[in-house]
Symmetry: C2
Subunit: 227 residues, 2 copies
């Protein structure tokens, strides 16, 4: 008896390009979708492409996934599994920074991931694990629970937005580079302050600005405790 179920055989026999066709499953679908998201961006991740990658038709996915929206949420949480929350650095600032840098670097693994994180309120198990860890670090920094709850929201919002800004491109051009060109073209008469600030508006590497912003947020949070 090679298999108890006659249909099972298909999973073994079905091939594409000589490789065995893996059985469909929620996990397989989410994995394939994440790969496509990293490669083709948020708009490029379609149910039809995911289905094609798994050697099946788009309708088959609906057995495992309710809608594209649900798939997007699953993909986001799957990606967040790679966030390293284990930093044991002594200083709580360094710990916070290490965890957030891991989060940002995960979101920057491809175009679309950060955009997905911005347009979806993350609430899967890996998002919860990250939130739990950030709450813990703020607790060690003697931030009360009520303040920490709002602070985590603010910090994650910022980190996500940074990652999105950094990976954003429109029409294949780097979006920040386009902004830079607009700023350079501003007239001193119409927008004197932008003109005066045109250097710092464009300057600073991603991580420089990230570090500064983290100090701003942390400083502001510590001095605005609600508890």
């Amino acid at each position: 008896m090679p298999s108890r179920n006659p249909f099972e055989a298909r999973n073994v026999v079905g091939r594409r390009g000589g490789r065995v066709k893996p059985p469909l499953s929620r996990d397989a679908i989410v994995g394939a979708a994440l790969e496509i998201l990293k490669r083709d961006g948020l708009e490029g991740m379609s149910l039809r492409k995911v289905a094609a990658a798994l050697d099946t038709g788009p309708t088959s996915l609906y057995v495992y996934v309710e809608s594209l929206d649900e798939l997007r949420a699953l993909v986001l949480d799957r990606a967040l599994a790679d966030v390293d929350t284990s930093s044991r650095k002594r200083d709580f600032r360094a710990r916070l920074r290490a965890v957030l840098e891991s989060y940002v670097s995960v979101l920057m693994q491809g175009p679309g991931l950060a955009q997905l994180a911005l347009s979806t309120i993350a609430a899967g198990p890996n998002a919860l694990r990250l939130i739990e860890r950030l709450l813990g670090i703020l607790h060690e920094a003697e931030v009360d629970t009520a303040t920490a709850a709002w602070a985590v929201d603010l910090i994650l919002l910022y980190a996500t937005a940074i990652a999105a800004e950094q990976t954003q491109r429109s029409d294949g051009r780097d979006a920040l580079a386009s902004l830079s060109r607009v700023i350079d073209a501003v007239s001193a008469e119409e927008f004197p302050r932008i003109f005066a600030a045109r250097e710092p508006l464009r300057s600073g590497s991603g991580s420089e600005r990230f570090g500064w912003a983290l100090e701003v947020l942390l400083g502001g949070i510590l001095q605005n405790r609600r508890g």
Copy 2:
């Protein structure tokens, strides 16, 4: 001679529902698109719908607009024309808050506007006007130019994200309400800190949190001046 150009007549004669069909123009297209965006959200704003609203075919729009991406950027800037930057309140904090509240309320005029602002780096004339004003307010608050440049970025990022979070819905359900349900279901053993913070994580009206976050940002900025 009723008209110098025989084709001109079409604009006068062409009607739909008894109303005169307005001539196509960049402005008309952007205006129609903004209306649809406010009603149907970002994904609902399609070139084909805009064309239909203007009683023409989708291909006609390409005479005035390069792509959907360009149209989106134009629509965002058109919406930002409604931002009131004229506050003359005495306290610079109150001034900053008034301008940002106007910005957020504009983005909350419908679903999709805030989402659009998050996914597009705003660089049109109305975005520049807003940035100019914020730089001015920070200057009055004695923030140096270099710090102000980064600070405006941070503040706008936050305000935009708040508006997006607040107007976001997935599958017709309020997205924040969904999150609230997830938090309520969290186990005290697996995620003790989230469990402990479940009240404040959900609590606070939009404007309460907005006010707090603004104090955090401003406090942090004032104590982290780079100049």
